[in-house]
């Protein structure tokens, strides 16, 4: 395979020149105990406790989990059950802010002496993949086999989102600092900063900064969706193929979002854990698209109000990008660690799907070379063996097949349903 399929989307990067605005402190925040991939944390605070910024308010012993910190100073008003956008239930801590934003005594730069203390500090920072999946960073940085390449994902291939781009423009030193730190501590020889070609300014900046450094390569990727998908970006920046069932580290690669790297760098300097994040607010119902930095736990409603959203015409709110983001059922859901964008959309056309005309577009665009039309047929008759040989489990749900389908068939959704038919080993 020499080239990975993909589609050219309209970028809609309307906010690329909007500097990050600090979101005014909300009256209360609601912080869920599950913002990462693993098991939810248990709250460490009770109602009426006072908390400060950066104080740890949730933790667990479960392996794939990271602690949760308070993003504000104030008083805990409730600890309740909360249903996440994924449908699972966890605890949620509601904090009323006191406006002082006092910083907790716990916040101090960690002492790093070796790899173990570094990984421990990474976990304590509450870091998980900021690109959207929320994979705990301390696990990603502790591969079981030797890794020689660190790929920094700056593709940001989804339309609208410019949060990572602003990070690259506003804090390039932090990114390079983070890259060097991770490289040095983990003993990784090379780092590759992979950025999509639609961000020429960022590419130029980094090329200048890394001019004298031959351990950091700046790679320009074509602006083809889904360039930022893990397997795609690894192949396009290193030429390595992540085989079925393999982890990137099995091919000697770690992929990390650029914002995660710069966050880690700042954390090691200041000790302030992951309590706020940058997100792009855009969409056709949003009158003033912005990049904002909001405390974790701020409700989507407040953010949309702040960006002058027309609530009367609002039909759909998407957390994340339009291709893979999740449509939000409730405006009172909070910003979490993985929220990279919030889109307010006022158009929705529930088109009926018509018969498949076998045009083959879905097959041509699938980045993994799957055949969504065939998968759909096999799914309809519940042919599990056929689904297995069509490798539906490899689908990354990038949505390209549904996007191009002229018959409005929901192929990406069918792939997800088909995956559930295949029993796990």
């Amino acid at each position: 395979m020499s080239r990975i399929n993909g589609i050219r989307l309209k970028h809609h990067k309307n906010t690329e020149n909007c500097s990050t605005v600090e979101f005014p402190l909300p009256a209360k925040v609601r912080i869920p105990m599950s913002m990462h991939m693993g098991a939810p944390c248990q709250p460490l605070v009770k109602v009426k406790d006072t908390v400060k910024v950066g104080q740890k308010i949730g933790d667990t012993d479960a392996a794939f989990s990271v602690p949760v910190h308070s993003s504000v100073s104030g008083t805990v008003t409730a600890v309740t059950d909360y249903r996440t956008a994924m449908g699972s239930v966890c605890k949620m801590v509601e904090i009323e802010t006191d406006g002082k934003q006092e910083i907790s005594e716990e916040v101090k730069p960690p002492e790093i002496t070796d790899k173990a203390s570094f990984l421990k500090a990474v976990r304590e920072s509450g870091a998980c993949g900021l690109g959207g999946a929320g994979f705990p960073t301390h696990i990603k940085l502790a591969p079981k086999v030797e890794v020689d390449t660190l790929v920094l994902n700056g593709a940001e291939c989804e339309p609208y989102i410019t949060a990572d781009y602003r990070e690259m423009i506003e804090c390039p030193e932090d990114i390079i600092g983070g890259v060097n730190m991770i490289k040095d501590i983990l003993g990784i020889r090379r780092a590759k900063l992979a950025i999509e070609a639609n961000k020429p300014e960022a590419i130029r900046n980094f090329k200048e900064m890394a001019d004298n450094d031959d351990t950091i390569d700046i790679i320009t990727l074509p602006s083809v969706y889904p360039q930022g998908a893990e397997k795609v970006i690894i192949f396009n920046s290193t030429g390595r193929i992540i085989k079925e069932g393999m982890l990137p580290s099995d091919a000697g690669v770690i992929v990390m979002n650029i914002s995660t790297a710069s966050f880690l760098y700042r954390y090691m300097k200041t000790g302030m854990p992951l309590v706020s994040r940058r997100l792009t607010v855009d969409g056709n119902a949003v009158k003033e698209p912005k990049n904002i930095s909001a405390p974790i736990g701020t409700s989507f409603r407040e953010i949309l109000e702040y960006c002058k959203t027309d609530f009367d015409s609002l039909k759909k709110v998407i957390a994340g990008g339009p291709m893979m983001g999740m449509s939000v059922p409730d405006l009172d859901m909070p910003v979490v660690k993985t929220s990279n964008a919030l889109l307010g959309i006022n158009t929705y056309d529930d088109k009926k799907s018509s018969s498949c005309i076998r045009c083959g577009r879905c097959v041509r665009v699938c980045p993994l070379g799957l055949m969504p039309a065939e998968i759909e047929r096999a799914y309809k008759i519940r042919n599990i063996d056929e689904l297995r040989s069509l490798k539906v489990t490899l689908c990354i749900n990038c949505g390209s097949c549904s996007y191009v389908c002229p018959a409005n068939r929901r192929l990406a959704e069918t792939n997800q349903l088909a995956k559930t038919l295949i029993p796990r080993k």
Partner: protein, 312 residues
């Protein structure tokens, strides 16, 4: 805002829909239709009109009787009617057009489940059904510009029959379509324009047409290969029938196999069969093989384990 709409991703879509594709193919056929009208007179338009109207009516009645959604809006019936007319001689009695449309829409398309589900190309199959049922009317070719002659319609043989005789048509005339044949198949130039248009709009892949025409060209290398590919229904078949979505393989590898198969079968029928023309049969036969070709030419999955087939 009453309630937020929740739906699975992706939340945006491409705006090329089924009916756009059908309309584009119809547009691509217009040069050939115009050429047909110039060479064979305005009766060509009448034949086309009857085919299109009867196809749409049959589609409507059929969907109604089967209590299914109405699918006239996707323009696929219009396209089938147009393609069928392209495959008929201009002198065909109009009631035969209606029967042909019935075969195409009801028997080949709707009985198998409608758009996308038919195993064979409706227009090609209808042409074959008519060729077998009405051999005289279906081979009643006329010379170009026959309508300008004062005498009654002068019927003439197709260039394929004339080949090797003293009445041979020149290669240029074949390319421009100045020879006897069906309404839409004689003018290779017009069909080429339509085919290239579809390729530029990325609606069809060049794989099958190139493989088809190329194979035929190579096989007939020692018997006027240019005349072979320019005559009969080769261009119409290659650009508009061998690229039909529903009845040809999805993958490029499959399309190439399909095209090569069409080329070989056409060559065999033309040279060793009793019919002078083999394009329709070759496409129909390859249509039937399509599911098997498809099984053998699946895409290579990125990063899949090799032993995939032995699993489960």
């Amino acid at each position: 805002m009453e309630k937020l709409i929740v739906s699975p991703s992706p939340h945006n879509e491409n705006y090329t829909k089924t009916h756009h594709i059908m309309i584009e193919v119809i547009i691509a056929l217009i040069p050939a239709l115009i050429a047909g009208c110039i060479y064979f007179g305005l009766r060509a338009l009448l034949v086309t009109g009857v085919c299109i109207v009867s196809c749409v009516v049959f589609e409507y009645i059929c969907r109604k009787l089967m209590k299914r959604d109405n699918t006239i809006g996707d323009f696929s019936a219009v396209l089938t009617g147009l393609l069928l007319a392209m495959n008929l001689p201009v002198t065909i009695p109009l009631w035969m057009c209606v029967i042909g449309s019935f075969a195409a829409i009801v028997i080949v398309k709707q009985l198998f489940g409608g758009i996308g589900q038919n195993f064979a190309n409706p227009a090609i199959t209808a042409r074959i059904i008519m060729m077998v049922s009405f051999p005289a009317a279906m081979t009643n070719w006329v010379y170009p510009f026959w309508y300008k002659e004062t005498a009654d319609a002068v019927s003439g043989a197709t260039p394929l029959v004339l080949m090797g005789t003293t009445d041979e048509v020149s290669t240029l005339d074949l390319f421009l379509g100045k020879c006897g044949g069906c309404i839409g198949e004689t003018c290779a130039l017009a069909l080429l324009i339509g085919g290239v248009y579809l390729m530029i709009r990325r609606l069809i892949s060049p794989a099958a047409p190139l493989a088809f025409i190329g194979t035929l060209f190579i096989l007939s290398a020692n018997s006027a290969p240019l005349d072979q590919i320019l005559s009969g229904g080769v261009f119409l078949g290659a650009f508009f029938m061998a690229t039909d979505y529903a009845t040809t393989p999805i993958t490029t590898k499959g399309k190439i196999i399909f095209g090569i198969g069409c080329g070989i079968i056409t060559f065999v029928i033309r040279n060793f069969g009793s019919y002078p023309e083999g394009v329709s049969f070759s496409i129909l036969l390859m249509n039937i093989l399509t599911p098997y070709i498809e099984q053998l030419t699946r895409t290579k999955i990125f990063g899949a384990k090799e032993a995939a087939k032995n699993e489960g």
